[in-house]
């Protein structure tokens, strides 16, 4: 890894930026196809004099009117006995020139208006955006027709008319992007160091508006070409030049249809379609590169479970939920080694028990939890191990059977309560939906009472049932999510960092609520967190994960007072303890390993204060300590015995 960083540092950052861009763009087939189509037609336009067998508007022979395509005239001849292929090639020049220049004008005007409106806001924004709205309402084409008809129909006039009328969408797009960028914290930070407006616009706003402007420009060019064709077709083109639109106009107006001379119409039409299609594809490709999140979503199916059949099928214990030797990989399509996100992790959870799952970000905690419910993202795959729920192997169930377990057996409370709720539906509605979706036969008339009961259970007053998520505070939203998780009377709740974004007092309220629910309903809870204080306050058992493997697994008291793994010990040293005022906090140097580039030997070795030779060579196995189910994976344990 070190070497790749070095090379990146030495090369030119702009070059790197472009290379990165190109590498992503390459993956978009539509984008590349669009780029190729556009390049071809631009090359044709540039080298028109070389490609065209006849001169511009050169009449081959008056007698050769509407001759069909032949070796002599590839695209046939038109009404004036001119070679259609030559006109097509020269027409590309006119159409593209109009398209590019008009789009240039539109982008400059729209970009400036959008930037000014978005950045300065207030009266400026009001004025500009109302003007934009008016311009947007007026149909472009009739207005263009009127203006071009009133002025002299020269190429320059047409460029200006199309350019001056085509900026409205750009202004709107740029304004909304500017608004979004303006509210980001780095702009506030720039203001705090005293940066001027000009500085903020040029250094912070423009670089982030530019990508959108580029995509917009591509689309505006295609619109401009279409507009020019329409104007020319209506006979408002510059009579001294010949664009594709005009070729259509002449052919149409001079009886090409009745003469059966399809070639006079099809080829210029094909040119227009070719360019517009190319630009649209290119725009789509660019958008994919600049907005990569369009690619993945939560609706993609996950991969089937793979079982290592060589391993004897483990026998489940009496526990409510049990994970046995679970391994999960993230596979990729590019032939790189899979990321070993979770490897050989086991735990048991009994009724009414609270298990804390602890580790830094990127240690595989969330992956493990999603795997229990088989809700892994599409790249994730269970490659080994079993999950038993009431003695049933969840990894062997069909998707339909699994759906019955989800929510009514095991449910999950996600972190980030705002994102997990649908903003346009009331909270009560969403809870009702959770019930109906998982228990389709639930009596409809009983649902409102059930929703009220659930809300009451989590401490939300019944009159707030019909409120929308944005009317709830952060703590209330988290309560609503818990109510939703309880909708189908699950026996196990997985709480994935449910309090991370909340204030300490609200956090205390939520923890109290979970504890209360556990006692009242006999729930078993898996609590995922990186906050050791919460774990000490609430949990019975603790699983400490590091880099996808079990570092230590024991009763809560053992973890805090007799931990054997250096990672557990270091985590505890980093946690502030107000009962020990003199203790200096120490952080763990370095960062958790990348799961696709794991170190050899023990995964914690590069950061471990007690590391010795063997740690770099050999992965420690899980050691049993005592009879209390205390497990730790560290070579030191063998040493001390």
């Amino acid at each position: 890894m070190q070497t790749t960083l070095q090379t990146v540092e030495r090369s030119n950052p702009l070059g790197v930026r472009f290379l990165g861009f190109w590498n992503t763009f390459k993956k978009s087939r539509t984008g590349v196809l669009g780029l190729v189509m556009l390049t071809v037609i631009i090359l044709v336009a540039i080298f028109a004099p070389l490609l065209a067998p006849y001169g511009r508007l050169e009449t081959v022979s008056i007698s050769d009117i509407y001759k069909p395509p032949s070796a002599l005239h590839l695209f046939g001849t038109d009404d004036a006995g001119q070679d259609v292929f030559s006109n097509f090639v020269f027409g590309a020049r006119v159409s593209l020139t109009v398209g590019f220049f008009a789009a240039f004008i539109s982008i400059i005007i729209g970009g400036t208006f959008g930037l000014v409106a978005g950045f300065f806001g207030g009266r400026w924004e009001n004025f500009i955006m109302r003007f934009t709205d008016i311009m947007l309402v007026i149909p472009d084409l009739p207005l263009m027709v009127v203006i071009v008809a009133l002025t002299k129909p020269s190429l320059l006039n047409i460029i200006f008319v199309i350019g001056l009328l085509g900026w409205t969408t750009t202004a709107r797009v740029v304004r909304s992007q500017t608004l979004a960028v303006k509210s980001r914290k780095f702009v506030l930070r720039a203001r705090a160091i005293g940066a001027s407006r000009g500085h903020i616009i040029s250094r912070h706003i423009l670089p982030l508006v530019m990508p959108i402007l580029v995509v917009q420009a591509v689309l505006v060019i295609s619109l401009a070409i279409l507009n020019e064709s329409a104007l020319s077709f209506l006979g408002l083109g510059d009579p001294t030049t010949l664009s594709w639109g005009q070729m259509l106009n002449y052919a149409f107006g001079r009886g090409a249809m009745s003469a059966g001379a399809w070639w006079a119409l099809v080829f210029p039409g094909f040119g227009i379609v070719w360019v517009v299609l190319g630009l649209t594809l290119l725009g789509q490709g660019l958008e994919q590169v600049l907005n990569p999140r369009l690619d993945t979503h939560h609706l993609m199916p996950s991969r089937p479970v793979v079982q290592n059949e060589a391993r004897a099928k483990p026998v489940p214990s009496q526990a409510l939920l049990e994970a046995l030797n679970l391994s999960i990989h993230y596979v990729n399509d590019e032939g790189r080694a899979p990321a070993r996100a979770v490897e050989n992790v086991s735990f048991t959870l009994n009724e009414g028990e609270l298990l804390g799952l602890v580790g830094e970000s990127g240690c595989g905690k969330t992956t493990l939890m999603l795997a229990l419910l088989r809700l892994l993202p599409s790249a994730g795959q269970i490659v080994d191990g079993r999950v038993y729920f009431h003695g049933r192997d969840l990894t062997a169930l069909s998707e339909v059977e699994m759906n019955e377990i989800r929510w009514s057996g095991i449910s999950i409370v996600f972190q980030g309560a705002m994102n997990a709720l649908n903003p346009v539906r009331t909270v009560g509605d969403q809870i009702a939906e959770a019930i109906i979706k998982h228990i389709p036969l639930y009596p409809r008339e009983g649902i409102p009472a059930r929703v009220t009961e659930l809300l009451d259970l989590v401490g939300i007053a019944a009159d707030q049932r019909d409120h929308f998520p944005h009317q709830y505070s952060g703590g209330m939203r988290q309560r609503a999510l818990i109510a939703m998780a309880l909708a189908c009377n699950p026996q196990v709740i997985i709480a994935d960092e449910p309090t991370t974004a909340l204030d300490v007092m609200i956090q205390a309220q939520i923890l109290e609520l979970l504890d209360l629910l556990r006692k009242k309903l006999g729930l078993a809870i898996v609590f995922v967190t990186h906050d050791l204080g919460i774990v000490a306050e609430m949990c019975d058992k603790v699983l400490v994960m590091y880099g996808g493997v079990t570092a230590e697994y024991a009763n809560v008291d053992v973890i805090y007072n007799d931990s054997q793994h250096p990672y557990t010990q270091e985590l505890l040293k980093a946690f502030p303890d107000l009962t020990k005022p003199k203790k200096k906090l120490t952080s763990i140097p370095g960062y958790p390993p990348r799961l696709d580039a794991l170190p050899a030997g023990c995964r914690f070795a590069p950061r471990c204060p007690a590391v010795f030779d063997r740690c770099h060579a050999e992965e420690p196995s899980l050691h049993q300590i005592g009879n209390d189910g205390h497990i730790a994976s560290c070579h030191l344990i063998e040493r001390t015995r």
Binding site: V8, E9, A192, I193, G194, G533, L571
Partner: protein, 328 residues
């Protein structure tokens, strides 16, 4: 130095929240900051603690001059800076002397800039790009912020760094101007616990090395630990208790402070204790409760709490609290 370093008196900031209805006469006000007093000495660290909506972040923006106060005064090194505009702030060197570190290190860095561009940007803004010691300054700021060796990071982009490293970049960009006061608004709340200690130790080190005063804004008293000299507890726009860290932690006087301290998790299951969990949330700062603003949520409130607003009471030289139960 006899002059006070930073002195805040009766500071208020009300935001207009629009009229409750079309026919209402007066617009409603959000009382974000509602009469805050405190002083800060040179190279002192004060923790400003409170729940969301208590006005602590607005207070920071007021001190930075990014919002205009409704009333009250702010004096910095003896000079009244309450109503200075952008230009005046710059000419008095305030934009250099006072720096801010934001909560979210993912949001507060421009993703299109390299680390070098980010750290040198303050120099560019202040016209110090061509000073002979420029490279040295950048190098020193980065290394003081724990980005060693500096040139490994210069060409990288924020997305190539971890959360802790990004927060170090933000701190380096503040240090490059050699500030005297850093306002840190929840600088560690977005970070993993294992990295929080690293950022807090870094700030503690800077304060010793560079004599920088720090206002550390947080909702979690536990995360500041004993790094702060003093702590000010805010509730609904006002400071309700202020005193030395050790004293407030060991002997809190205001019921709100007591509750806040009781919910700080203790990382030892043998010390599980009774927590004072306040019900409900901070009330809407549009309608401030009558009397003591804390009384609707206070577990020990008496009848008179709803009637009179308690004044700030000096318990000793370094400890003050505003609670009627202390007036006896």
């Amino acid at each position: 130095m006899s002059k006070k370093f930073l002195e805040v008196r009766g500071l208020k900031k009300y935001f207009e929240a629009g009229r409750p209805s079309f026919f209402a006469k007066d617009p409603r006000n959000v009382h974000a900051v509602d009469g805050v007093d405190f002083t800060l000495r040179r190279s002192e660290v004060i923790a400003l603690v409170g729940e969301s909506g208590c006005g602590k972040s607005t207070l920071a923006l007021l001190l930075m001059g990014l919002e205009n106060p409704t009333a009250g005064s702010i004096k910095f090194e003896g000079m009244d800076i309450t109503h200075l505009n952008d230009g005046e702030r710059k000419s008095h060197d305030l934009r250099r002397k006072i720096q801010m570190v934001f909560q979210d290190p993912y949001e507060s860095l421009n993703p299109t800039q390299t680390i070098e561009e980010i750290v040198t940007e303050p120099l560019l803004v202040h016209g110090m790009m061509n000073t002979p010691d420029r490279d040295e300054r950048v190098q020193k700021a980065m290394e003081d912020a724990g980005l060693k060796p500096a040139d490994v990071y210069l060409r990288r982009y924020p997305h190539e760094l971890s959360g802790g490293q990004r927060q170090r970049v933000v701190i380096a960009a503040a240090l490059v101007l050699e500030p005297e006061l850093i306002l840190a608004d929840e600088p560690v709340s977005m970070l993993d616990v294992s990295i929080r200690a690293e950022v807090i130790n870094l700030l503690a080190e800077l304060r010793i090395k560079r004599q920088i005063a720090v206002i550390f804004i947080t909702h979690d008293l536990g995360s500041v630990g004993f790094f702060a000299d003093r702590v000010a507890v805010m509730y609904l726009g006002r400071i309700v208790e202020i005193g030395s860290m050790l004293e407030v932690l060991e002997n809190p006087k205001h019921p709100y402070t007591k509750a806040l301290i009781s919910v700080i998790p203790v990382p030892n299951p043998r010390l599980r204790h009774e927590r004072i969990i306040l019900q409900g949330e901070t009330p809407n700062p549009i309608n401030i409760p009558s009397g003591c603003r804390f009384h609707p949520r206070c577990p020990v409130a008496i009848a008179s709490c709803a009637l009179s607003d308690p004044p700030m009471l000096s318990l000793n030289k370094s400890h003050q609290a505003a609670c009627l139960l202390l007036v006896k």
